[in-house]
Every structure is written in structure tokens, then in C-alpha cells.
Amino acid sequence: MVEIIEETKGKDGRRNLKVAKENLVELIKDLKSKGYDHLSLITGIDRKDRLEVVYHLHNMKENVYVVVRTETMDERMPSISSLYASANWEEREQYDMLGIVFEGHPNLKRMFLPESWVGHPLRKNYDLSKVQYVNMDEEGNDYATFDPGDGW
């Protein structure tokens, strides 16, 4: 049995379960075996001093939702991409936007931005005044630079 730190009810009426980072994979595995077969959403939230990750799990047959919340202090989270195929792209997106490193992910690359982009845009301390330019190299891959260059 996984230890649940706190159980609350959200404004939208969904059950919220808060667990420690170490117990996350075990809890989600447990929920999946109980019929929560659809991973609806993974959201990372920058709480300034820590990063919060929220999983919305959905049981398609019985049509019930559960929200699993966990926190990390060191930007690292265990990956659940071996449990849900859809977690693969969602974890890549959260890595791209917030810099959460999902340990055990098979292909942790940026989802939208080029690999050489500096910073993670959805962090609260991201510097919006620094303009980065995206260019294309000879092989057709994108790269980001601070230099406007001739193309611009």
C-alpha cells in the first residue's frame, strides 16, 4: 500500500492524491491495474522554490478521474513512459517547457524547441528580453542562436 500524504477535492470535483516522489511510479502502477487506463494530462508547475507535477488519470470504463500530485526539489522525476505510451510525448513537452528531467525516459529530447535552445520558457524566472533566433543547418535540423545573423 502506497502512503498518501494528503487527499483533497479540487474545485472541479476531482479527487486529488498527493504522494512523495519515490512512491509515484508504484501508485500509478497500482491505479493502472485498477482500471485507470487513460493518462489524460501531465502538467508541470513552477512553484518558484520547487517543481510540482500533476497527473490526470482517467478510468474510461467507469468514467472516474483521479489527480496525482507530486513535488520535486531537484528538477528530477521518475518517468512513467513505460506504463503509458502517451506519457512519452507529454514528458518530453514538460521537459522542454519546464526543464523537468524524467529519469528512465527512452528519448528525452525537446518537443517543440530546438535542442540548442537556452532556458525553459515556462519557468517563472525565464528571461523574456533575450531574443533567440532559430535557424536551419545543412541537414535540415533546427538550432537556436542569440546571433541575428544574415538570415534575419
Partner: protein, 377 residues
């Protein structure tokens, strides 16, 4: 089940083909890295992000009422459904429910928009397969929907019609009459369009049995909407978790058990017929009353403060469109996250396009109904 990274046989010779980002069959700016063995596709890697504007960050920087325009520009062929998705979440956070009349107006607009979005998809899908004629028929009918949108919101595509606590302006009898007229005329036109597709032998033989998507795989990948229903899963957010007044309306969820491209085509056409059914009922039942909540007067809108957090799901034309808003008591949201159905539907493409012919790759990617404003956000 792994999307990428699965090794292909290295001893055989293969060609790596780069398709896109600018390619007519990719419906926008999708780049596909395809590994080909002769004409057989061995591996596909979709690369996205060419239309990325980071709408989520823009939402964090704006007032609740201003963020609506970024949602218009997500699924730009289904703007009303996108607005609805955002407002369902934002109104829960702000505590401003829309009045009864506004809810019925929203249902009518959302269903009209579903028809328009499916017509764009049908026309573009025909083009993917080399059929030019249905495209024009589809767009003529779509233009009639957009004419009604222009009448209510003074804008064709990026309507910005719904607003927090209601709609931007009331619909009068003339508009209701116009919409009624459309629902009378459209079904016959829809059958014409339908027949131009299904009476074509080439169309049938290119789609029947191609791109089989098993229901377990679909749920595992987070596929929703018409794609999931074409795989035999009877699941629709409008029925499963009714929002607005969908529980007072009588309609069916089209389901197909054939799981292939043709099934997805048929499900989308049946959805249009059901949408007409919904609009016809809604026009008859629409009550009188205020069209916006007085708490959300236009002059007060930027002072609205959100509290708590909410995740709202709606059924857009692509699938389950979810918006998750975290508020911290200020006039701007703390975090907005969007569940893009088209992105999940694209994620399953490498699985669907394994060991198919290169020509089938485009009929399969056509049926996933990609709109890149929404995939990239």
C-alpha cells in the same frame, strides 16, 4: 510500447526521406523523418514545433479575459470549440457560470463549428488522396457556416465570440432563422459530398483496411475523439461528462468497429449528421433571458480574480480538449496547460504507419486530422 527508438534491421539498406515542414500533404508544418525500405515505410519520426508560439506562457502574462484570443488561434478551423474549452475551465476558477441562454447559444455555435471543422478535414483528406472535386463542395458548405459566424461575431474564423460569463452579443431572430435554414439545406448537400467520396472505387480501396488502430493501443496513446470512436470505443465527453446543456439534448455517438481509415471517415460524417440533429433541437429549446452573467460586465472583466484550480474537458472536433488552469488569487492565471487532442492523435502515427506503403502514409496522417495551431500551441 515505445513510440520512438525501436531499432530497424541495420543490415538492409534503407533510405531516409525528409518530408516537410512545408509539404501539401502534411496539413501545415509537420516534418516527418521517414525510413524507407523500397516503398515500404519502416520508421516514422514526426518532428513538430514549427508553429510553436507558447500560448501557455502568453496566457500567464495576460488577464483571464484576454487569453481567449490565443485559444482562437489554436485550432483555427474550430475556434468556437477552443474558446469553449478555455471558458469551461476559466469560469470554474473565476466562479462565474454562464446563464441558461448563453449555454444554449454556445452549444449551437460549437456544433456549427464542428461541422465546419469536419468539412475542412474532409476536403483536405480528399486532396491528400488526389481528389480535387470534394474540396470545393466542402468549402462552399463551410463558407455558409462562416457566414453565420460573421453575423454573430463580425469575424469569420477567429471569432472571439464567447466571453467569460456568456457570449459577446445576443443572437436575434434573423440569425436563428439563418441557422435554421442551414440545418434544412445542409443534410442533402452533405449526402452529395458523402457520395462523391464513397462512390469512388479508388477512394474505398485506398482506405479500406489501411491504418488499423486497435482500441487498447488507442487508449494507451491517449487517442480520443473520432479516431477513438472509429476503433470501437464508445466514448464521448459530451455524454461521459456532460457540460453546458448536452444532457438535455438527444443525440447518438457514432461508433465503428472496423478500426481503419474508412471507419474514421464514416464516423466523422456521421458526427456531422448528429450535429445537425443537436442544432435543430437547440434552436427549438433556446430560452429567453440574459446572454451574459452580470458579474462579468465588460468594464469589470480585467478585475476578475481566480481562485483554486480546475481541469475542464470538452469534445472538440479533434477529440478531448482539456484546459487545466491553476489560479493563485490574482488577476492573471498562474499556470495554464492545454491538452491538445491532435497532438495525441499524431503521437500514434509511428505505430500506425509501420510497414505500410509510402502512399498510405499520407492517407493515414490525413485521417488523424491534424491542425498545427493546436498541436504546437
Amino acid at each position: 510500447m515505445v513510440v520512438e527508438g525501436e531499432k530497424i534491421d541495420q543490415s538492409r539498406e534503407w533510405v531516409e526521406l525528409n518530408i516537410g515542414p512545408q509539404h501539401p500533404s502534411t496539413h501545415g508544418v509537420l516534418r516527418l523523418k521517414v525510413k524507407l525500405d523500397g516503398e515500404t515505410v519502416k520508421d516514422v519520426e514526426p518532428i513538430i514545433g514549427y508553429l510553436h508560439r507558447n500560448a501557455e506562457k502568453l496566457c500567464e502574462m495576460d488577464y483571464y479575459c484576454d487569453s481567449l484570443i490565443y485559444f482562437d488561434r489554436m485550432d483555427y478551423v474550430g475556434a468556437m470549440n477552443m474558446e469553449l474549452g478555455y471558458l469551461e475551465a476559466a469560469e470554474k476558477v473565476l466562479g462565474i457560470p454562464p446563464p441558461e441562454r448563453a449555454q444554449w447559444i454556445r452549444v449551437i455555435m460549437a456544433e456549427l463549428n464542428r461541422i465546419a471543422a469536419h468539412l475542412v478535414w474532409a476536403g483536405a483528406f480528399g486532396l491528400d488522396l488526389g481528389m480535387l472535386t470534394p474540396f470545393f463542395y466542402c468549402f462552399i458548405e463551410r463558407e455558409k457556416v462562416l457566414k453565420r459566424f460573421t453575423a454573430v461575431s463580425e469575424s469569420r474564423q477567429q471569432t472571439n465570440y464567447m466571453s467569460i460569463g456568456g457570449v459577446y452579443q445576443d443572437i436575434d431572430d434573423q440569425i436563428i432563422y439563418d441557422i435554421e435554414q442551414f440545418t434544412e439545406e445542409f443534410p442533402a448537400k452533405l449526402e452529395d459530398i458523402f457520395n462523391t467520396f464513397v462512390k469512388n472505387d479508388i477512394f474505398i480501396s485506398r482506405n479500406k483496411g489501411v491504418g488499423i488502430l486497435e482500441p487498447e493501443v488507442a487508449i494507451d496513446y491517449g487517442v480520443t475523439g473520432p479516431m477513438l470512436r472509429a476503433s470501437g470505443v464508445e466514448y464521448d465527453v459530451r455524454k461521459a461528462e456532460p457540460y453546458l446543456v448536452y444532457d438535455k439534448l438527444n443525440f447518438d455517438i457514432p461508433v465503428s468497429y472496423k478500426k481503419d481509415n474508412l471507419a474514421r471517415f464514416l464516423v466523422r460524417f456521421e458526427e456531422m449528421r448528429q450535429s445537425i440533429r443537436i442544432i435543430k433541437q437547440a434552436i427549438k429549446k433556446i430560452p429567453d433571458g440574459p446572454y451574459f452573467n452580470p458579474k462579468a460586465k465588460k468594464s469589470l472583466m480585467i478585475r476578475l480574480r481566480g481562485e483554486g484550480e480546475a481541469y475542464a474537458r470538452t469534445e472538440s472536433s479533434k477529440g478531448e480538449f482539456g484546459v487545466y488552469i491553476v489560479a493563485d488569487g490574482s488577476v492573471k492565471p498562474y499556470r495554464v496547460h492545454v491538452r491538445s487532442p491532435a497532438m495525441r492523435n499524431l503521437a500514434v502515427l509511428p505505430h500506425l504507419a509501420k510497414d505500410v506503403m509510402i502512399a498510405d502514409l499520407f492517407s493515414i496522417s490525413g485521417t488523424t486530422d491534424l491542425v498545427f495551431g493546436e498541436v504546437d500551441r
